[in-house]
Symmetry: C2
Subunit: 524 residues, 2 copies
């Protein structure tokens, strides 16, 4: 039966007509998991064109796709400087106001860079002519910057979104997915799906304030989209045209909430097949003895930290019997003990998959967390920015790791946390349980992602999955017009009934009055 | 890559530890698609025990599972008589009030039978002892009668629900899935997901009335469950404990609406691999020539119809050049032409899959409709009862078939409709488009169903997919307490501010007054 059932699937996988896919990616770690999907799509014979700015960081050229670039009014060094500054900010121990202003300034700069990138693409006649003439079957894009969707709307090409989420739950609203603030914690709230009354109050207040907050963040894109498409367009309206939302979410890690049929969950897509370690790493791991190793990385964007913090961390890591493999490109701390091996790059997933790996010290980026879940490695989390605090909270509440405050943690805190997740069996048991649930799936998330990209290419979208809610405004969606009408009918009926009653009563009394008067006159 | 990715899946499929599954099925066509899932589960080595009443209709014994029966206070003949009466009612041309009373009476009788069946099971000491001692890993049940869930709660066994839906959207509410009446048409409303204002008014009114309507329908089960479990229990609370909802829904046919992560969509699960026709049917199909055949069945529960209607239908079918294969066990109509072949049973899916099949005349049961979609055969729909009117409406609005009113249709209506769906290309094109979308899926619904039953057996449920909304009451879920609190704070703040202002003003005026008085006195 299995063979019979798989046959059409396998047959369909091999006989699928090759299509033409335009990819407008997002910079940074977002690109890494998207690239895994492109590799598989390329292997299946599709023609893939990646369009990226000339000044970029991780988006690289490859034999799997054609990389087309366009000039932008900033240099790669400026980008790197901005990233460096963002990373350093998180370690800053200056007063809150100073840090806030610094973060705001960096944020303003990144927004300006994202907008300038998009503007450079939209108004690059050569690239736009190329896109128009290429007759792409679909666009695969990260909607965190909605440039891909602006192009998609302009040329009427269906889009597949590839994302974890968009700030202020814009993705959720754009997909018309209900999002009750009573049990769906808002990003940055650090709440779980079980909230106390005061937490629910704060969660609702965050929820109400989100549209205002995010209109500031996305207003430049909204005006860009409106100018380019020559019609007023909010960011939510823009993203509402996506055919399929490939969400890097799994409910083992994220909380179960209402979803829509065109949301496909591919959390763990980046956790691929384990590859053998290189000789260099194999030697380090083998030399670690019975205590095994600890993998330590603060993500692809943060490879060095202030020396004071580095010394504190080094001191803590020196106190554990495990060998620590630390991805670190900064100045070597003077107190570096023998059990710490500093490396410029490490094969994170393959190391986490190694049976000798005891723990993972991570900033809590979703990619790393999914690799740790996939390989059942307990975590010590040092969240830095973005959604990392929320990710750390999720792992901690599930008993699969411990969170440290990067600014306040002492050397003892770090070694205590590491000691706990390695030696207290409950952390390993919990992450193993999460891992078992996560890996017990009918199809690998990578194949799921590939299927839905191909689906959109084959059928020119997925209109049958588009909810009719898109045709309703806010008042109609919540049936407020219907409720107002029914209330009006009820009130009007009550008013008329009351009037009728009063009228009847008056008539009755008047009649009685009239009837009694003659009697009176007669009696007189 | 594909092999690498499929390998763990295939490996997992074959190495899965065999489990012990209790099945408490629903009678009628519901059983047929559940049986397909049981066949696959049995093939994969699981021990399956089906518990069904001694008096039953379609639930049969098989080598794939052990059938255990229990006595019930009614006979099989009574069941058959009830079904016969239900079917005849739909053809009745008596006045509305008479038909309504008849339907109500039949409905009362079926409710009583369902309740008696459940009661006989729950209070059968021998069977209950058997269930307790058997240590089942999971229960697979159709929640249309919640008997399986009562047993599951009693013995703390996780449940997998297998269903298309429960009246009054009880399944949707029990799963905590949002269900906005602004674009989710209610069952029996015959609306689509695009509603006019008056339709939205009616849809909301149906939605409001549903809890009252269904409390009548399910009250006997609620009191049975409350008595047996010794705590008050509504039907929604009872079903809220299901681990996984296997819903026989596909968004090619049903409208896209909000869903929950523990809902798995297996619409088309009954449309299996095409098997070769028997010699008898092969001969009929081959003899049909270039015009091909029409398949005609009113479902497993209706195999005969009143003679007057049969003659009308026969007259219509005699006028088409196709050979009509009609599943019919009633008295042979006197005007039976040569192109109509009456059969007591037909291999519906295999016939629909035959390239010579031009159209399908159906009552619009979801099983038949999915087989028609799967095999891309346009339909003439003659809905009789239940959700069949809504199913017919969906197919008609998608341009893949035509609906006839079984009471009002004339011979000409039937032949016109049949002629249209066969000869007007748009019907074939539309059903082909639906079929292509439906069949383009990453995994067959049967494998998906099997995976999730096994998942629940392996992990003793799916607690990570259970939304926290279950812990909230209606007021909390809709944040009404939070909104009331915030309103109170705002009003109180306004009140205090107003009071302060008034106080200040009064003080000011009083001071002014006092200040002016001495002046006055001085001036005097």
């Amino acid at each position: 039966m299995l063979a019979a059932v798989l046959l059409p699937f396998l047959c369909c996988l091999s006989s699928a007509a090759a299509g033409k896919l335009l990819v407008i990616p997002m910079e940074g770690s977002h690109w890494l998991s998207m690239k895994a999907v492109l590799a598989e799509l390329s292997r299946r014979g599709h023609e893939i064109i990646v369009i990226a700015p000339e000044s970029r960081m991780l988006v690289d050229s490859s034999a799997m796709y054609t990389l087309k670039t366009y000039p932008v009014p900033f240099k790669k060094e400026e980008l790197q400087e901005l990233m460096h500054s963002l990373a350093l900010d998180t370690f800053s121990e200056k007063p809150f106001l100073f840090r806030f202003l610094n973060t705001w300034e960096n944020f303003r700069k990144s927004s300006a860079i994202f907008k300038a990138t998009c503007e450079s693409l939209l108004y690059n006649k050569e690239v736009m002519k190329y896109i128009e003439e290429s007759k792409f079957d679909a666009i695969l894009t990260d909607p965190l910057t909605p440039c891909g969707q602006i192009i998609a709307l302009h040329f009427s090409i269906p889009t597949v979104f590839f994302l974890r989420g968009v700030p202020c739950a814009i993705d959720v609203h754009a997909a018309q997915s209900p999002d009750p603030p009573s049990y769906v914690p808002r990003v940055f709230s650090l709440y779980t799906d079980h909230m106390t009354f005061p937490q629910r109050v704060k969660n609702l207040l965050i929820s109400i304030s989100e549209p205002f907050l995010c209109s500031t963040v996305f207003s430049s894109f909204e005006s860009l989209a409106s100018d380019f498409l020559q019609k007023p367009m909010t960011i939510t309206q823009l993203l509402s045209h996506g055919s399929i939302w490939l969400k890097r979410i799994d409910f083992v890690f994220d909380y179960p909430v209402p979803v829509m049929p065109n949301m496909i969950f591919i959390g763990g897509v980046n956790c691929g097949q384990k590859k053998p370690l290189s000789q260099e790493f194999e030697a380090i791991v083998n030399a670690s003895g019975e205590h095994g190793i600890v993998v330590f990385s603060l993500g692809s964007m943060v490879s060095e930290i202030p020396m004071k913090k580095a010394i504190e961390i080094t001191e803590a890591l020196g106190s554990v019997p495990q060998t620590v493999l630390w991805r670190y490109t900064g100045e070597v701390p003077p107190n570096l003990p023998k059990n710490i091996k500093l490396v410029k790059w490490l094969p994170q997933n393959d190391l986490l998959a190694h049976p000798k790996t005891r723990a993972f010290i991570t900033h809590g980026g979703s990619h790393g967390v999914y690799e740790a879940i996939c390989n059942a490695v307990p975590m010590v989390l040092m969240p830095l920015f973005g959604d990392q605090m929320d990710n750390a909270k999720r792992i901690e509440t599930r008993g699969a790791g411990l969170t440290l405050n990067i600014l306040e943690m002492t050397s003892k805190d770090i070694s205590d946390a590491l000691h706990a997740v390695i030696n207290d069996k409950k952390y390993k048991e919990n992450i193993k349980r999460l891992s078992d649930l996560h890996l017990d799936r009918p199809i690998h998330p990578l194949d799921l992602a590939v299927h839905w990209v191909e689906f959109v290419m084959r059928h020119k979208g997925a209109p049958h999955l588009r909810p009719a809610a898109h045709e309703l405004n806010w008042i109609q969606y919540h049936s407020l017009d219907v409720i107002a009408f029914l209330l009006a009918v009820v009130l009007l009926s009550m008013f008329i009934s009351l009037k009728c009653c009063l009228f009847c009563c008056r008539r009755c009394f008047r009649k009685k009055g009239r009837a009694s008067k003659p009697t009176k006159s007669k009696s007189h």
